[in-house]
Amino acid sequence: MLTATDLVKQYPVRGGDGVVHALAGVSLTVGDGETLGIVGESGCGKSTLAKLLVRLEDPTSGRVDLDGVDLTELRGPALRQQRRHIQMLFQDPYSSLNPRLRVGQALGEVLAVHRLADGRQRERRVGDLLEMVGLAPAFADRFPHELSGGQRQRVGIARALAVEPKVLLLDEPVSALDVSVRAEIMNLLVTLRRELGLSYVFISHDVAMVRQISDRVAVMYLGRVVEIGDWKSVLDNPRHPYTAALRAAVPAPNPELSQPIEATVSGEVPNPAAPPSGCPFHPRCPLAQDACRRLDPALLPLPLGSGHQVACHVAAERVTDRSGQLTPSGS
C-alpha cells in the first residue's frame, strides 16, 4: 500500500523572497491493486505530487510510505532498490526514450542496470515484455522514431514494467493520443492491472478517462485535495462545486442532450505564490459565502459515510478551519 501523509512542497519564487505552495498538505492512500484517479488542471499540484511519490524530489514536509517503508528517509542503494517498486509513465515517452537506442536495447539496459537478467535470459525477457504490451518481438529492432504514438506509449509501459513495480504512476498517459489509439492504451492498462496485480495512480485532466479506469478519485485544486472518494460517488454525484464544474465543462458526445454552452466557472486558477484567503476556490465559486472568504475548509467525510470526503463549507453544511475545528458560522 502506498500512503502519502500531509505532503507539503514549496518552491522559492525566482528573483523574490516568496514561496510557491505547490502542495499544501496532501494525504492519500492507494491500496494493492487499486487505481486512484487524480483530476485537476494546471497548477493544482498533480505533477508535483507525482514527483514526490516517485522521490524525484523531496517534500518540504510530510512523508511517503510504501508497504510500511518511509521512502522519504531512504538514501543511496536502499532508495534505488525501493524506487523500482514505483515507476512513472509520462505523457510522451518519446522525450524519455533515447533516440539512438533500439527498443530492445532500451529495455535491455533497464534490465542490466537493475541486474534483473543477462544474456539469453535478458533477450527472452525483452521479448516477454514486448508481448505483454501487445508488440511483436520484431519491435525490439526498431528505433523510437519509427514508432507511432501508441506504439511508443506501449514501449514506455514495457520499460516501466521491466523492473516489476508494484505501483505505476501514469501522468496523462493518453492525453497526446488519438481517440482510437487512446482506447487501445486504456484497455491495455486495465488488462495489465488485472494480470499483474498493479496499483495505478492515474493523473489526468480528462474526466472521461479517469472515470473509465479509477476505483477511487481525488480532485485537486491549488495544491490541495478538495474531494476524494469512490469513483462513481465523486464523478457522478460530485459535492465540491469545483468537481461539478469540471464535470460540466466536458461535454458528452451526445447531441441529444441539452448541454448549455455557458461557462460554469469564471476566471482562472489563482497564482499559487499568492493564493486567495479562505477556500482557494472561492474567487471562482458560484456558491461562495462569507465563511468561504475567511476560512480554508478541512477535507472532511460526508455525513453519510462511504468514504467520500469534501473540503467545502457549503457542501459539508458546516464551517471548519483547515485543521477541522468547527467554527460557528457567521462569527
Binding site: 507511432s148 489509439v181 482506447a183 473509465q212 454552452i261
Partner: protein
C-alpha cells in the same frame, strides 16, 4: 441558403525530393452561409491541411495541387498573395491551437489588435478605439492597462482571447477555429468555446471547427464532416451522425469513446490496425484494411453518395453491415 464556401476536388501535396506526395485527395465540400460545421478526424486525416489550404496558408513543402476554393463565389486559388491578404482577416479568419504561433512576442497585444484592423484600411485612431472595445468584448480585464502588455505576460486562455479579438476585428463572414482550446485547461476551454460561440451568433459568422473532440462537436455544431487519410468519408447533420453513422469509420470512432453513463465501464472498442501512411496509400477505400464491413467492391474507391440527410463514401449501406 447560399453557399459561402465551396471546395471542389481540393488536393494538397507535399514536395519530397523531385516527387509530389498527395496528402489531401480531392475534398468536395459546400458550407452554407450561417452554418456551423465541424471537420473531425484523427492526426494525419488532413483536416487541418484542408483548412490551411482554404486560407492560402500552406507553407513549403506543402502546396495546392488541384481544385478550387470558392468564398462567396470567388476562387481564392486564382488570387495573388496580395489579394489573398486582403481577404484573410477581412472575409475569412482563422484561430489556432497555439496563440503564440500567430501572436508577435515583441509587440504589445493592443497594437496587434490595432494592426489587424489598419492592415485592412481602418484609420489608426478608429482602430485604437475599437481595440479597447474588442479586448473588453473577449473578456480581457482592464483593457486600457492590459493592452500595453506583451503576449508572454498572459496566460494561455488570455492569449487565446487576444487571438480571437484579432481574428474577429474585421467581422469576417467565415471563421475557421482549428483546435482552439486543445492546449487549455478544461474550465478555460469551456470559457473560450462559449466566447467563440457567442461571437459567432452576434456576428452571424459561418463557422468551421476543426477538432478531434466529439463532445465539442455534439454540443456546438449543426453538421459534421469526417475525414480519414486525406478523404472525406462522411458528411452529415450532427444528430444523424451520432445516431445513425453511415460510414464504418465514423461508427468505430464513436464506439471508441467511453459512455459517460455506463457504470459497467466495459473495455473501449478498438479499431484494428493503423491509418495508411501518406507514403503508402491504400488502393480503393482508404479504410478497407481496417474495416469490419469490407467487401470485394471496396477495392475501388467509393465516391461520396447521398445517405439519409448527408453523404458517405462507402459501398456497403448500414442495413447490410455485419456486426
Amino acid at each position: 441558403m447560399t453557399a459561402l464556401l465551396e471546395l471542389a476536388d481540393l488536393r494538397v501535396s507535399a514536395r519530397s525530393g523531385r516527387a509530389d506526395r498527395e496528402i489531401v485527395h480531392g475534398v468536395d465540400l459546400t458550407v452554407e452561409a450561417g452554418q456551423t460545421v465541424a471537420v473531425v478526424g484523427e492526426s494525419g486525416s488532413g483536416k487541418s491541411l484542408t483548412m490551411l489550404a482554404v486560407m492560402g496558408l500552406l507553407a513549403d513543402p506543402l502546396h495546392l495541387t488541384g481544385g478550387a476554393v470558392r468564398l462567396g463565389g470567388r476562387d481564392l486559388t486564382a488570387l495573388s498573395e496580395r489579394k489573398l491578404r486582403a481577404i484573410r482577416g477581412n472575409d475569412a479568419a482563422m484561430i489556432y491551437q497555439d496563440p503564440m504561433t500567430s501572436l508577435n512576442p515583441l509587440m504589445r497585444v493592443g497594437d496587434q489588435v490595432i494592426e489587424a484592423m489598419t492592415a485592412h484600411g481602418v484609420p489608426k485612431a478608429e482602430a485604437g478605439r475599437r481595440m479597447l472595445d474588442l479586448l473588453a468584448r473577449v473578456g480581457i480585464p482592464d483593457p486600457k492597462r492590459t493592452a500595453r502588455a506583451y503576449p508572454h505576460e498572459f496566460s494561455g486562455g488570455m492569449r487565446q482571447r487576444v487571438m480571437i479579438a484579432c481574428a474577429l476585428a474585421m467581422r469576417p463572414r467565415l471563421l475557421i477555429a482549428d483546435e482552439p482550446t486543445t492546449a487549455l485547461d478544461v474550465t478555460i476551454q469551456q470559457q473560450i468555446l462559449a466566447l467563440i460561440d457567442e461571437l459567432r451568433r452576434e456576428l452571424g459568422m459561418t463557422t468551421i471547427w476543426v477538432t478531434h473532440d466529439l463532445g465539442v462537436v455534439a454540443r456546438l455544431v449543426d453538421r459534421v464532416v469526417v475525414m480519414y487519410a486525406g478523404h472525406v468519408v462522411e458528411d452529415a447533420p450532427v444528430r444523424q451522425l451520432f445516431s445513425a453513422p453511415q460510414h464504418p469509420y465514423t461508427k468505430a470512432l464513436l464506439a471508441a469513446l467511453p459512455d459517460p453513463s455506463d457504470d459497467d465501464r466495459p473495455p473501449l472498442a478498438q479499431i484494428p490496425g493503423r491509418p495508411p501512411a501518406a507514403t503508402d496509400p491504400v488502393e480503393g477505400c482508404p479504410f478497407r484494411p481496417r474495416c469490419s464491413q469490407a467487401v470485394d467492391a471496396c477495392a475501388t474507391r467509393p465516391p461520396l453518395q447521398t445517405r439519409m440527410q448527408g453523404r458517405a463514401a462507402c459501398w456497403v449501406p448500414p442495413h447490410e453491415w455485419r456486426n
